[in-house]
Amino acid sequence: AMSAATGGITFPDTAAGDPLPVESWMKTPGAPFVPYGQPSEYENKVARTFTTAPGTTGTGASRTPHHLLDGMITPNGLHFERHHSGIPDINPDAHRLVIHGLVKRSLVFTLDELTRYPMESRIAFIECGGNGQLLYQKEPAQVGVQQMQGQVSCAEWTGVKLAALLQEAGVDPKAKWILAEGADAAGMSRSLPLAEIMQDALIALYQNGERVRPANGYPIRLLLPGFEGNMNVKWLRRIKLTEGPTMTKDETSKYTITMPDGKSLQFVFAQEGKSVITRPSPGLTMKEPGFYEITGLAWSGYGKIAKVEISADGGKSWAPAALQEPVLSKALTRFRMAWRWNGGPAVLQSRATDDIGYVQPTREKMIADRGSRTIYHSNAVTTWGVSENGEVKHVYA
């Protein structure tokens, strides 16, 4: 039943006349304890979706179902993934971390040794450099927030400062870059600028309290808060200090932004300021006019989110959303705004501004600046069109 709105005052409807049922679970003891819990079976549609390269095991990406979540933390079972050769089943006792190259002494660490180091915790987002790539398409893809923007997640990561280990190895002043390499079958590797990661880089051992999940780098991964997901090398086995970048496949063939003139922007480290409305969004049909909360996520690899504005008219007018505390640097920030849907068409957008003053671009601006010859680092405004029947679709405003 629809609520009757009369001059601003809404009178509640009356529930159907039956007595409230005393359901079986109110009378019969429930399930016993288990060592490690799981979500309700009724929530089994709250799941990652994934795309895999033909004929391979787990070369591809999986996406977080943000339209079904709330808060800033992504539960570990739903953290997005990007694997290049499946999820290795690493025996932690056999795993080693090597630091070598331009250092005074090359060092090797066992996991037990790393576990004794001073730890630091950091709530941080990780976003794939390819997240949002569908916005580069000419026509709006008919998909929802999970497919559009699901390759970003946020967790509390705990680990050892990379700087502490490098200091023990003794960094040669000639070293300006490091190569980080994974123990997966793809040997995922990226070059990272030493000066820019010294402050923040963590060798992460824990993810939301427990050991890092296999899909996210068990037993250790690199965490570079705010930097392109691919740089946060999982299953980290080796750090080599070098003078220049190694020019690995993923920093040349991939993760560069090819501009209209054919040149490609390389070493795009920070994921620039961005936001997306997660509710309402495609798949979440609004059954009746009335109150809805507009909520979503904002983040910036440059720092803290300073402001998120929301438009319900495709960008003509904007109003600031409330930011859910705590607002943390390089973490997902939940924004919220009360909205009363009048039953007419609406065009919903969010626009983030971070604390260095960077403003999330419109899609027009992003494409005017960069063209559509790339798939990477799409941080433009995503637009949801609401139709009169309450359906929500991805549109270009």
């Binding site: 391979t56 070369t59 060092l107 090797v108 004794r116 040997g187 070098t242 496949k249 040149k263 490609s264």
Partner: protein, 155 residues
């Protein structure tokens, strides 16, 4: 007062893991290979996934697209059209290919298959040999195609 719990390790011990190659060729092992030798490696270990002569299907094409980075049609980015350094072929194929049994090719096989991919792309001739000296000297068509990104500055 750092924990100092790591153990010192020698280059010999790290050698089995030290598989990365710099664009200047540092890290390239001894050995060599020609396009013709590479064709044989490719046929037995790569073709099933990357197609006849690197044309692609079911997985990435390794050939083609030179000149496609500008213009109206979609860019076709391959080893030939896009990769700035030939050393990356050696580095990447050694660490990640063949997909189902990576890190199993010999150095000669690696030089040979790199030579074959380069030759298919018309970047080297049929009779050139790839080794630690020649591979880094190969000039890739898109070598000058990259510009370092400049991040936003605080306003």
């Amino acid at each position: 007062d750092s924990p100092n719990l790591g153990k010192v390790i020698t280059p010999e011990q790290v050698a089995s893991w030290d598989i990365s190659i710099s664009p200047d060729g540092a890290g390239l092992p001894p050995g060599s290979g020609t396009p013709k030798q590479g064709e044989a490696v490719y046929a037995s270990k790569c073709l099933a996934c990357h197609g006849e002569k690197g044309a692609g299907k079911p997985n990435d094409a390794l050939v083609g697209g030179i000149g496609s980075l500008v213009g109206d049609k979609p860019a076709m980015k391959t080893v030939g059209s896009f990769w700035p350094y030939a050393t990356t072929i050696f580095d990447y194929v050694r660490r990640a290919m063949p997909y189902n049994e990576s890190k199993t090719l010999t150095n000669d096989e690696l030089y040979a298959v790199a030579a074959y991919i380069l030759q298919l792309n018309g970047i080297i001739g049929e009779n050139e040999t790839m080794n630690a000296q020649t591979l880094p000297r190969v000039r890739m068509p898109n070598r000058d195609g990259f510009v370092t990104f400049v991040p936003a500055k605080p306003k």
